[in-house]
């Protein structure tokens, strides 16, 4: 079972990975272990592969640092469900093949620490007795996610997805 890690509104990239923990500053360190290292030490210590992040508005606001999304992906986070995402974070996560879903009803209903099951093919989320169908990403992003990220997509098709 996946644990849900719940966050509030406006989680910024300095919280996800502070600039001092950037690969530029610590080239040999494990980036995955830097995720939420100061803002949410319980996450940094206990998050497991397969876990899910659920958050409020504007998740990932702030810097363009792709390593924020990368750290969460490397940590094994399988999906982020939020009310909304900041645009650069959104783009970075999709590019890396980390699925994001805007689903305010899920955010309102689930609690930190809830146990969930997420089907990675149908994107059905089960928490306790409740089921949700997470919204299908628009075709442009779907193509990137299906390929496993933008690098894999471009290598396979030798072009960007069509809008």
């Amino acid at each position: 079972m996946a644990r849900i890690w719940k966050f509030g509104d406006n989680v910024d990239t300095d919280q996800i990975v502070p600039g001092r923990y950037a690969p530029y500053m610590r080239p040999n360190a494990d980036l995955a272990s830097a995720a939420f290292i100061e803002a949410r030490p319980d996450f940094a210590e206990q998050a497991q592969a397969g876990d899910i992040i659920v958050a409020g508005r504007n998740f990932g606001c702030g810097s363009s640092r792709e390593y924020a999304a990368e750290a969460l992906k490397k940590r094994g986070i399988t999906a982020i469900v939020a009310v909304s995402f900041a645009r650069i974070f959104f783009r970075n996560a999709i590019n890396l093949g980390l699925p994001l879903f805007e689903a305010p009803e899920v955010v309102a209903a689930v609690q930190d620490g809830d146990l969930a099951t997420l089907d990675p093919h149908t994107w059905q989320l089960q928490v306790g007795e409740a089921y949700w169908q997470l919204p299908t990403p628009p075709p442009f992003f779907r193509q990137i996610l299906d390929a496993g990220g933008i690098v894999a997509y471009v290598q396979r098709y030798q072009r960007f997805p069509q809008g």
Partner: protein
């Protein structure tokens, strides 16, 4: 309905008429990368994309500004790797000390009206000050742009901000930028472009302050309609005109006559109040700098306030000019001398302590008043440190007294 400035610029770049919501694949005029991320972009370029040559070296610009001069051996090695790559591929590189990417690309007339500039830095919205479509992206997008010469964009809807009136004395563009964050919130323009209308009198540095902070309300771009006041280095394409009937998603009005100095409280940029609501908040560090407020004009403003005065005991006043030009001009007219005599600490032109890596990292007990653009927890060092954001005038006045101070009260 007529197109917005973003729709016009992206239509021009795409070679077809596009509107908000369309996806375009374009060849950006400029692809900017800075030292903080160029090493990771290089890695993606070589190791993941298997690329060896960039598609169009004329499109690329590298800057050295985030951790300069190098603070560690590994950073020095990374920077040397970037230098070698730039030399090999024929890419323009602005060296250590030249200044912050967003300032340098404007000073060098690399960002010009109607161009599309993508950058590895979120504050690339700053190029909108000269009427460019400036947009920040992550390392993978930039690596792909190096390798293919292209990028994809979703054409944004536009939030129109109509400015009325004029600033009162000691009220600056930064106060307006903070006010806008207060009005619309951190996601008030998420996925959108912002256009600033009604203030053709605004100087280029003022426009840069506002456009740099467009990203703080989530914007993809923040654009001022370009006009001849920008000068000869910024030719305006004939097609880049404002249509009164353009289809804006929202319009908001802000009256500058009533605007007072604003302060962003820890730990978000939307947590903004009037300066008058702050009473006696002590500060241990005052930081004058960044792509938002480290320009020559900002140094002059600070010097005006600090002339014949001294930085308060117990305060470190760190001044980081946004560029070598800003530093040279402030040196030539005596502003720099004034700042130094008042007790300022001068660092290398660049980002300085803005993102908490060197040149004045904050400790647990520090309270910083910064002229920068972000006060997120941990941004400048310890997550316990508290960061307030304000204008250069408020910063200088606060450096004198040691607590957050209205410059009007000093004069």
């Amino acid at each position: 309905m007529s197109p917005t400035l973003s729709e016009k610029i992206l239509s021009h770049a795409a070679g077809r008429e596009v509107r908000a919501g369309d996806f375009v694949i374009i060849h950006p005029d400029v692809v900017m990368s800075h030292d903080s991320l160029t090493p990771s972009i290089l890695k993606i370029f070589h190791e993941q994309l298997g690329a060896t040559r960039v598609a169009d070296p004329r499109q690329l610009v590298f800057t050295m500004d985030h951790v300069v001069p190098a603070a560690t051996v590994s950073i020095a090695n990374d920077q040397n790797r970037v230098r070698r790559f730039a030399a090999e591929q024929g890419i323009r590189l602005f060296e250590v000390g030249r200044g912050i990417c967003h300032q340098v690309l404007v000073e060098e007339h690399i960002a010009t009206p109607g161009t599309v500039v993508i950058g590895s830095d979120s504050h690339s919205t700053a190029y909108g000050a000269v009427g460019a479509f400036g947009c920040g992206m992550g390392s993978t997008d930039i690596a792909l742009a190096w390798a293919t010469g292209q990028t994809w964009l979703r054409v944004p809807e536009t939030l129109r901000v109509i400015l009325q009136g004029r600033f009162r004395p000691w009220v600056e563009a930064k106060d307006l930028a903070l006010r806008l964050c207060r009005e619309v919130g951190l996601d008030g323009a998420n996925y959108m472009a912002v256009e600033y209308h009604g203030a053709p009198w605004m100087s280029l540095p003022e426009r840069q302050t506002l456009a740099s902070m467009a990203v703080e309300i989530g914007a993809k771009a923040g654009i001022f309609p370009p006009d001849p006041s920008l000068g000869e280095g910024f030719p305006i394409p004939k097609w880049l005109t404002v249509d009164e009937t353009a289809s804006y998603a929202h319009t908001i009005y802000l009256n500058l006559d009533e605007l007072q100095p604003q302060i962003a409280l820890p730990h978000t940029v939307e947590n903004v109040v009037d300066l008058t609501e702050i009473n006696g908040q002590r500060v241990s560090v005052v930081f004058l700098g960044t792509c938002t407020n480290g320009r020559y004009e900002d140094l002059v403003t600070a010097a005006r306030i600090l002339r014949g005065r001294h930085v308060a005991p117990g305060v470190r006043f760190i001044v980081t000019p946004a560029s070598q030009q800003a530093l040279a001009r402030a040196a030539a007219d005596g502003s720099l001398q004034t700042l130094i005599e008042a007790g300022a600490v001068l660092t290398t032109p660049g980002c300085g302590p803005c993102m908490g890596r060197h040149h004045g990292v904050l400790g647990e007990d520090d309270v910083c008043l910064s002229t920068g653009n972000r006060n997120f927890r941990g941004r400048m060092g310890s997550p316990q440190a508290r960061i307030f954001l304000a204008s250069p005038a408020v910063a200088a006045a606060s450096a004198v007294t040691g607590y957050i101070t209205d410059p009007a009260a000093l004069s």
